[in-house]
Symmetry: C2
Subunit: 220 residues, 2 copies
């Protein structure tokens, strides 16, 4: 699991901080003080600063010269914007997956789908966030487009997870998500790239609409 390569403090600190920010353990708006972090990680400020620069480019913290960096606070409006990008990118991923996934990979995806279906009919519960991510992750990987994979997995998904950790209620019902996943799987099995893209886009657009409608709800 944990690859011991990149054995450098900067990378380890970056990952630790990133995870802390994404999971909400470091509250949004918190100022990341270099001396405190250096104390916390038992290191000097050098690697801390480099890690912070990485987080800055990733968009997880905002940096102001001579003032410091603060963890970003995602407004629901911003999440809607992010979901527009997610719709476009994952839609493309689904289209490419319909073309480029191997039969074995599709079979694997089908198996995962079956597990989810069983789980739901047994418990009737909302789909677990991890399960949903697994499904999407396999499709993204199936696109075989390394640049797309990087954009989605290394950049965008941290923000999506950051949002989900704070408001788990927005995962729409497992029953609906399950149907959407089944439709998507079908399209990929048919090697229908256009249908796959459309299904994925609708799946994500619906989640986005849930968020957008919640914003309107709060305004009244």
């Amino acid at each position: 699991m944990s690859e011991k390569k990149d054995q450098t403090l900067t990378t380890k600190i970056t990952k630790t901080l990133r995870e802390g920010i994404v999971r909400g353990e470091i509250i949004p708006g918190t100022k990341l003080s270099e001396p405190k972090l250096a104390e916390q990680f038992q290191t000097s400020r050098g690697p801390i600063r480099e890690a912070i620069r990485c987080l800055e480019v990733m968009g997880l913290v905002k940096h102001v010269a001579h003032e410091g960096v603060r963890v970003i606070t995602l407004t629901q409006e911003q999440v809607v914007e992010i979901y527009h990008v997610r719709e476009a990118l994952e839609g493309k991923a689904a289209a490419l997956a319909a073309i480029n996934m191997t039969d074995d990979e599709i079979e694997d995806l089908s198996l995962l789908m079956h597990v989810h279906r069983e789980h739901q009919s047994n418990t009737g519960a909302y789909m677990q966030s991890d399960g949903d991510f697994d499904f999407h992750y396999k499709i993204i990987q199936g696109s075989k487009n390394r640049f797309l994979i990087r954009q989605l997995c290394e950049d965008l998904y941290h923000l999506v997870r950051m949002f989900r950790y704070r408001s788990a209620r927005f995962e729409h019902r497992a029953s609906l998500a399950l149907i959407e996943h089944e439709q998507l799987l079908f399209a990929i099995q048919q090697r229908d790239e256009q249908l796959a893209e459309m299904m994925m886009r609708r799946h994500i657009a619906r989640a986005r609409d849930d968020i957008a409608s919640n914003i309107r709800e709060l305004r009244s």
Copy 2:
């Protein structure tokens, strides 16, 4: 033009190096030596290292622990992958622009279009790269989606420019590009988001096909 904010060595070095890499002045594959860069920028290695970390996250250089960083070399296959992402993102940008651009902004875009048309009928020349970028840039900004704008302008476009600087021949004929731009403008004027997205996607997909067919050509 040059905002004097962010007056910190790291940001200035980052921008300078980024521009050098994008313009091809720093040859792909070149190793970025920290001591040499420190000498070159008349500074210490601290800011250099931070700048390099930024370039690494941006994807312009590849870092191997304890070895150093090298400027990435874009293969045409990778550019095709990038253009798939570009198609998805800019397609979405066009759709959002059709919804969110103000009438004044559309008028401004129409004016730019007219200038390009005049220029072409006068010179008959291929469209200038800058002109093409201007057009796309205005549409991206018109999406009003800050996250999308950031993804396209701060990340993806550096790679696109990097590719174009080395192989300008891939800009397809101005006559075709002009028609595609006109169709796109029309769709935006009609506030037809679906058509705008489709036109933008075809426009970029055609450019991608040019690159892909060139790869096949080289194989024979």
